[in-house]
Amino acid sequence: MNVIEIKDLVKIYTNTAMEVTAVDHINLIVEKGEFTAIVGPSGSGKTTLLNMIGGLDKATSGEILVDNIDISTLNAKQLVDFRLHNIGFVFQSYNLIPVLTARENVSFIMEMQGLDKQKIKTRTSEILSDVGLGDRMDSRPNQMSGGQQQRVAVARAMASRPKFIIADEPTANLDSKTTEKLLDIMIELNEKENITFLFSTHDQRVVNKARRVIVLEDGKIVKDEKVGSR
């Protein structure tokens, strides 16, 4: 089943001096449950592509279908709502809310979605335990290491069971040991919950763990490889 379908996607940035084609006629299909890494040098268009798939940026032309909904036709308000109910985000610098505990950071998205309080409570405990932070639920971000914060961020992204998760360089600020641990957790969750993971990375260790690797160069896909099971 296709979660994401991209048809002839183009993104051009224009300023007074020049035009930059960040994404150049990309066609792509992502299936449910994929664990896909998008790699490429700086300026290859990874972040721009992910931003457009995540509904954070508008394409110049082309289509992005998520569950057969063309998100390029949605207005700003509809996009916000779409992101809330369909997409999970993991950011490079964790971006947890510092005044909230781990529990509250995970649950607030489900609260915005209007889910039942008891279900939120149960799901929050479950997902934080899955990422190995069952005993740190009431800790604040400043009481946790970088790796623990990123695990909370992953739990937050997964908690509401979105259609897919976008992770933009999620391991960039982590050491190798923590990176390994985080990736194992993400793979485990991917397999357990069958949620699609789409992330951009420079990190070879991450690439090694991915089941599919898409290589971008100058806004084009130059390689799209499904690798064997790990």
């Binding site: 950011f91 609260e111 915005m112």
Partner: protein, 475 residues
Amino acid sequence: MIWSIAWKNVWRNRKRSLIVITAVLLGTTAGVFTSGLMNGWIKQRMQSVIYTEVGHLKLYNPEFLNNEEINNFIPQSEAVVSYLQNDKRVKAFSQRIKLMSMASTSRGNSVLMLQGIDLEKEKQVSDLYKLILPNAGTYFAGSGSYPIVISDRTAEQLRIKNYTIKAETFDSLKIAGIPEPVIEKLKVIENKRFNTENLLKKQLTKLLSLKDLKNYSAEILGAAKHYRLNSKVVFTFTGKNGELISQAFKVCGIFKTNNTMFDLMNAYVLHSDLAAVAGLSNMEFHETGMVLNDNEELKNVQSDIRKAFPGLSVLSWKELATDAAMMNDFMDLFYSIIMGFILFALAFGIINTMMMSVLERTKELGMLMAVGMNKKRVFNMIMLETIFLTLVGAVAGMIVGWIIILITGHTGINFSSVGEGMEAMGWSALVYPEIDAAFFFGVTLMVIATGILSSILPARKALKLNPVEALKIDN
């Protein structure tokens, strides 16, 4: 959830928030106390107007208001009495003879409105009988023939009051704890009579140091004050038949209200004495004053009396004491203006703090919008944060202000340094601040409104953020 995040965000930068909260606390305290002070002042004035000077309503022959002639008494007097006796809204009423007269003693004179009163009825409509000064006689108790009660200011004008430090005065000053060296200095002016307080004050300034003057002058002036009770005051007025009548009255009591003008204008004698001297019958009065059971009934009672007696002038205290009426009517607006100005000034500090807070959280706000927090929620979050920040300071300020009012409402605040000027306009120099619960409700609403308005600029700034650009920022 938004409420919880907003509340926690207030305390994100504790120091900065506490500075703003303290500013709001101080501003609110000042506003609450000022309003309490004005409220107490106005209420005291109203109390004085209604229960000492004027009453709720007064009835006159309209001609008497144009021309205070003795023959312009209230028509249908018996019918008026009967009507008022049967109206359950009227608590009590009293009828008075009023004659403009010249008062003279051997040492001074004054123009006064001589009022002939029914003693028992008058006590029910005016508490003037409670305002007889200590050691200054009585309110017609056991008095001889033709007794009169005059004010302290009138006594000064007629030279019935003077200031003399006698031998017995030194004894009372010793008992009051005045130091011996100070008493020794006063012996220079023993038995010397000063006609006014100011004359004695001038002399004391020459004799005593500034410190002794500040500490002991009130005590010395009080002890030196003497009234020549039973002094005769001759009143001259026009009688019923147009003849000039002179009658001596003996001073039996001295009163003092908070209204110097009222004190200077009025003197009281027994109705029977004045009627007999002026040639008036028992049912010939110039004024009927009354107090009601409920102030809210004022308009209705006034209107009903006017309908029943169209030939009478029926005036309320609002028409007779327009200054107090105006202050009373504008009280609420006045408090709102004070608090409004204070909150308006504070809003600039609040806006500045919130703008800094939003700027610091650009990345976080970008994240929130990226994960699906819509503009309405972002706006509400910032608005709630601003309201909480303002409300914490305001609630604390209201509590502090209320405590100050509670204390000063019990002890009073003495404005005697400007007392003379205030009393000349009828306002008490000793003020007991008070405030009612409804005021705090109004302040809370104003604070919330301030929070909402102050949140607009910072919220707009947040809403303009592009999540993609915001997430790139390194905070």
